[in-house]
Amino acid sequence: MATSQRSKSASPKPDRESVLRPADHVSGSGDAPVGPKLGIFGWLRWIWRQLTSMRTALILLLMLAAAAIPGSIYPQRSADPNGVTTYFQQNPTSAPIMDRFQLFDVYSSSWFSAIYILLFISLIGCVIPRIGVHAKALMAPPAATPTNLSRMPAFKAVKAGPKKRAAAVPSAEVLLKKKGYRVSVGENSVAAERGYWRETGNLIFHVALVGLLIAVGVGGAYSYSGQRILVEGDTFVNNLAGYDSINPGIAFNESQLPPFAMTLNQFDVAYDHTNKTNVGTPLWFKAHVTVRTPGQTAGTKYDIQVNKPAELPGAKVFLSGNGYAPVITIRDSKGDVAYSGPVVYLPQDANMTSLGVIKVPDAKPEQFGILSFFYPTAGKLSTGAYTSIYPANANPLITMNVYKGNLGLDSGIPSNVFSLQVHGLKQLTGGKTGVKSIQLALGQTSTLPNGLGTVSFDSLRRYASLDVDYNPGQLWVLAFALLALGGLIMSLLIPRRRVWVKVTEEGIEVAALARGDDPLLDRVVGDLSAQLKPKKTKASGDDLASNEKGE
């Protein structure tokens, strides 16, 4: 996977294939070894060579790019689980078939994994021998001067008298060494090479990619990401039961959760109301929390903002969402409290029109559920329906539709607290019932239909969606990524070139050969030949060269 090496520069070892294969090797399918001559090891070796060839690496890279595309088209369980659920509901016949081909888990699918694992095997198989070759090259002197320099891509011959010819080899040695070349001096020639860092950088890049993959894998195994919705005034204790949902890595252990309790004291949000084009745009969100660890009663205060997580020992706590949680009390027909507390409403639009569900299984004589909308700043549409016209709570209003019947909570099947399955329930208000939906302003109480009791909107709180995350691999991932970047820069920008200076009977020959792209090849040869045999106008050049020799 030598990204730096280009075949057209016609260097003696232009690419990885010719390092591994004979120089007269011709690419193409026709050159595969003939079967019968190969034993099982021969075949294995052939397969290995194919796998570690540059062409295979290239094909695998392009396959990897193509294989990543479906994951951006279809919803993925990892990034968008709700999208997957919706997709199944909308495409009940095709979705299960697609699921069998792992199209909803593309990046952990067997086919995607197969491509990148093969790619990495190919990479390792290519890089390991190259490390050996490069180590040898680092220790060996530069390649001896070839007989015919004029065949090199950059070549210049200048005529010179005996004095300059005699000085050419020692001056060239000094000049080239000064420019960072590794120099080996022959009888009447100098061979020099520079830019070993190009290959070193290339190897660093590829090895760092392997490190990156390992860090991602190991880090992911021990990582976890837990979500919790926390209403103002509530406290969350960091254990498994404390989370609404948690995505642990495969090696995760509950004891990894650092013990702490977090209280959301207040959630602050500011919306722009001064700039006409920007009204209602959130300017900032701030979750003011207090964190208590064992033995610590006072606690530490943090202001969590988007982009500014609370960095606790062993975990980071991020702010990922927010909304309104009106405090609602429901009394049944006997006047007993059947429900009381903050209800988390999920925002549906930019103006925080929010949807909430209340299930009242304990109501006597009959269970009922409520589908409800909350408008922080209620405004009426021309159709008569309400909508929120501003995201802050300037004119809070709740509307409710009541559904009577078995809520299905006693069957033991887990159900989503944020949705009400209205199928099989009897709608009592709103829609086609002819009974107006219940409307509650802050502090109001209203009677429920059919003598079910009363409902009141006692107060308004906000909530924050918090994400607790831990990934021990991520610093390693960053380190390897930066190492790869450094290696990449070296391997693409440092020119690797060989330069030869030879004294002939008529004068001096200078030639250069690049390994990989080298924009300066001709200039190097031109400059060097000019320095070795300066034009007459620069008479001091000859002295300069001999001066340098004397240093």
Binding site: M1, T3, S4, Q5, R6, S7, K8, P14, D15, R16, E17, S27, G28, M54, R55, A57, L58, L61, L62, L64, A65, A68, I69, G71, S72, Q76, S78, A79, D80, A270, D272, T274, N275, K276, T277, N278, T281, P282, L283, W284, F285, V306, N307, P309, K316, F318, D467, D469, N471, Q474, L478, A481, A484, L485, L488, I489, L492, L493, D517, P519
Partner: protein, 310 residues
């Protein structure tokens, strides 16, 4: 933190600079094409006009860039922040960057001057789309974007895109020059006056190997910048979205683009893959960048929803 004073009037007024620059770019496009045609002409009287025409088309693009710059800076002042937080702003800034890099490059290496033909055409088109379809009124940054990584991550992405853009123009020139129907045209095509003109223009482009080399050099800079964009994006994603990589649609496409260009670098070192095939990879890579910026931004579901459009 006080809400800033946004200025829609200023944004609209300086957008005039963008409109003027579009006229200039379009005119420069025509002049550069005329210039190449004249240069290729065999008539001596026409050749004489050359130098002046070329000089004036370069000057015209420089003037266009100045007006373009007024539009970009004006938008920045109007919103009191960097002008690259939605599709309109990103387009005007990224195209200006590509133009400026071209201006610098053609002074250093006059042989890339002909790329101005592609750049001026592309920029006119992109600005036309941005001003008509993607303009959004002045807005503050949503909280997720309020971070100095916006400065680093997006500006480097813009730079990388600009380098890839020029490299793609060079690869397209290469593909035209090396195409079989251009190299060995049919008799009927040979007589076609339009084809003759095109052939004359193509002959004025640098030789094929030179185009390949130049494209490679712009691509390696683009690739380094793109790699940095990816890493910077991951660092930012870690503290904005609590994970450094989550296969968000935009992340997926950034990865796809990176992989295509990595493939291109390998293609250059694989026998039978340098030349036309690697030039195709450059075109595909740049097409993926455009796709990532337009289709993914507007129609794919994801976290990078910053077009500001409804």
């Amino acid at each position: 933190m006080q809400p800033v004073q946004l200025n829609e009037g200023l944004s609209r007024f300086t957008e005039l600079g963008i409109y003027i620059s579009m006229l200039f770019y379009a005119a420069a496009f025509v002049m550069l094409a005329m210039n190449l045609a004249r240069e290729a002409s065999e008539k001596k009287s026409q050749k004489a006009v050359n130098a002046r025409l070329e000089k004036w088309s370069v000057n015209l693009i420089i003037a266009a860039a100045v007006f373009h710059g007024v539009g970009v800076i004006g938008r920045g002042i109007a919103v009191q922040r960097v002008p690259w937080a939605n599709m309109y702003e990103f387009t005007i800034t990224a195209t200006l960057t590509a133009v400026v890099i071209w201006i610098v490059a053609q002074f250093l290496r006059p042989e890339v001057r002909f790329v101005g033909l592609f750049i001026s055409g592309f920029v006119t088109l992109a600005l036309g789309i941005a001003t008509t379809l993607w303009y959004v009124q002045v807005k503050t940054l949503m909280p997720a974007l309020q971070d100095w990584w916006l400065l680093v991550h997006v500006s480097v992405a813009i730079l990388g895109t600009a380098f890839f853009n020029i490299a793609a123009a060079l690869a397209i020139a290469y593909l035209f020059k090396s195409a079989k129907w251009v190299q060995e045209p049919s008799k009927k095509l040979k007589k076609n006056p339009l084809f003759k003109l095109m052939k004359l223009i193509l002959d004025k482009f640098p030789p094929m190997q030179r185009l390949e080399e130049l494209s490679y050099r712009f691509n390696i800079i683009g690739f380094i910048l793109w790699t940095f964009t990816l890493i910077a994006g991951a660092i930012w994603a870690e503290h904005a979205w609590h994970r450094f990589w989550g296969w968000d649609t935009k992340e997926v496409w950034t990865f796809i683009i990176w992989t295509i260009y990595a493939g291109y670098l390998h293609a250059n070192a694989t026998r039978g893959w340098s030349g036309k095939r690697s030039a195709w990879l450059v075109v595909i890579g740049f097409a993926a960048i455009i796709f990532n910026f337009t289709i993914v931004n507007l129609f794919f579901k994801g976290l990078h929803v910053y077009s500001g459009l409804k």
